[in-house]
Amino acid sequence: MAQVKNRLRPFFENITFDREDNELVLNFGPQHPSSHGQLRLMLHLQQEQIVKAHPDIGYLHRGMEKMAENMIYNEFMPTTDRMDYIASSSNNYGFALAVERLIGVEVPRRAKVIRMMLLEINRLMSHLFWLATTALDIGAMTVFLFAFREREYLMDIIEGYCGARLTHAAIRIGGVPLDIQDTFISQLKTFLDKLPQNIKDYEDLLDSNRIWLMRMEEVGVISTEMALSWGCTGPMLRASGVAWDIRKEEPYELYDEVEFNVPFSDKGDNFARYRLYMEEMRESAKILYQTIDMYAKCVKDAETELMAHAPKYISAPKLDIMTQNYSLMQHFVLVTQGMRPPVGEVYVPTESPKGELGFYINSQGGPYPYRLKLRAPSFWHTGILTDLLPGHYIPDVVSIIGTTNIVFGEVDR
């Protein structure tokens, strides 16, 4: 390496020259718009090429694991919203499922169908958001507006269901709090009927777009070994040649009853991940069509239960609470003191839009979890930047961060 002295040390904001060679350190973020939240990257550059990348996280650390140790189980549910806030129902669901496995309750079928609907709507919302923001980072403003328009529609549906657009808290331990509203199915159908055309619109804008292809093809290639070693899951892993989808391999809810494919690619580059997100949206739509039929069957069979019956852990329906003394007493105890799950531990993985979202809960029989570990996929999808970015150029950083689909509520927790 030629030792060229920086005789003139120009002052640039955000750039420091702290070595007597050509390497300069660029601080990318934490307030950079395309760093998708509070990511700070320290990039060591040779000209425009990155030789070393050092992701720095923790700017959004709120100590959720600590909070969980000081909250009763139901109290923690709204906190999980703030993890992956792009698809908050999937966090709610991951936590609810973990606690359900711990206490060993089975959720009624109708609740399962509603949960699946919410999960897939959340997946669509998340993927649309991913497409919008990534396309915006690369410069495709039209796709951003299109995708946000569709996402808005989904958010309206969710708002009709639970009253919230971003932090849903739409799932309870043991089921769902409410039945879906009357307009839910018709609105969803309207959306789903239009979705294939919408996806085609995005693809028409992007698939043969030269700028898009330059930023996507052969950029950010993750090999299978690297993806496995770094604990990549979800689309990040499937784009690298491993067709691993927890919905398919370790089915929860009614995912073993619905028909869907697990798209995967062995290219491992940005473009493969982009294609995967598009395909996954189509698969989600397929699942949603099937859940609509399943819901109709639930209505026909008069399966009205929405919460599991487990009086030790879960409050009785409102009607019982208001009419029966014993239910009221139980409800009072469960609200003021919280449920006390059995002594034991559980690790439950679910397929969130970003990857494997796992909840490890260690219960010592008290109303507070003794230890709760949140396994958020984005954490490792950020870590992989350490090994992925060296060799790439500065403009590629933006597209690589984009396709990793990291959300900092989840990375920092």
Partner: protein, 268 residues
């Protein structure tokens, strides 16, 4: 007399405990009930000491010796097809017997099985890093160090990851209070103005979100706010805040419910 609170566990405690309550257990089953797990366990047992093994909630849990961890994970990765380390972290048992419990959550995608490898270390001991086997352990071990102060031997970059580099204390220890300790409370003030400024700034200004619930001058006087120090007489004028100009401003019309339309088709 002030109630005694143990200093080694300052987390929330159950308000009501029944001293005769026997907590139920999450059922455990023998490893032999599952063929795949039994074969895996036999392969591990052939080379390493396994102290305890059982299946709980469809996953096998094994307890090993702390110094075997690298070997066990290497065996699991290379010969038993557990190719991914999903998660690893620690559990604080310092209040009970001065130990940490470390767990490694392993996943085999070909077998569709998950194993949790666990061991105990004493307070102050370090674990062997498995970063050479699984790069994901790089960040997990840093997080564990940050949160519990457990160091990993042979780790390439054993630094804090979530908390600031100059933080004191390890937040997930049971001895660390939820609202933070004194260092946490004064972190910004100490850093920006220096320790000697603590007294001049005082706790009220330090926390801008602080609400004194006994402050009747500024708290809960919506629409009738008065400056601090004002004598409350009860006939304060209403200082109403208008969020919309009367008659609208340029390009913006005033919202009226009657004039609004409901859009049925969002893709109009």
């Amino acid at each position: 007399m002030r109630a005694y609170t143990p200093k080694d566990d300052v987390q929330a405690k159950a308000y009501y405990t029944d001293r005769y309550y026997v907590a139920p257990q999450v059922p455990k089953s023998e490893v032999e009930t599952d063929e795949v797990f039994a074969a895996d366990l036999a392969a591990i047992k052939a080379r390493f000491e396994v102290k305890e093994a059982y299946i709980q909630v469809e996953q096998m849990v094994i307890f090993i010796n702390p110094h075997d961890i690298y070997g066990v994970l290497e065996l699991m990765r290379d010969e038993l097809a557990y190719t991914q380390l999903s998660e690893m972290s620690a559990i604080d048992w310092l209040a009970k017997d001065n130990t940490f419990e470390i767990f490694y959550q392993m996943l085999s995608m070909t077998k569709r099985k998950r194993i949790r490898v666990k061991f105990f270390i004493n307070n102050g001991e370090a674990v062997d890093s498995v970063e050479k086997l699984f790069r994901s352990a790089d960040w997990s071990e840093r997080e564990m160090f940050d949160m519990f102060g457990i160091e990993a031997n042979n780790h390439p970059f054993m630094k804090r990851i979530l908390m600031p580099y100059d933080w004191q204390g390890h937040p997930l220890l049971k001895s660390y209070p939820l609202e933070g300790d004194e260092f946490a409370a004064w972190y910004e003030v100490d850093k920006i103005y220096g320790k000697e400024a603590r007294e001049a700034i005082g706790p009220e200004i330090r926390d801008t979100a602080r609400v004194d619930r006994y402050d009747s001058e500024r708290f809960a006087r919506l629409g009738f706010e008065v400056p601090k120090g004002t004598k409350i007489t009860g006939d304060e004028p209403r200082n109403s805040q208008e969020y919309q100009e009367e008659g609208g401003v340029f390009l913006i019309k005033k919202y009226t419910k009657e004039a609004s339309t409901i859009v049925d088709d969002p893709q109009r």
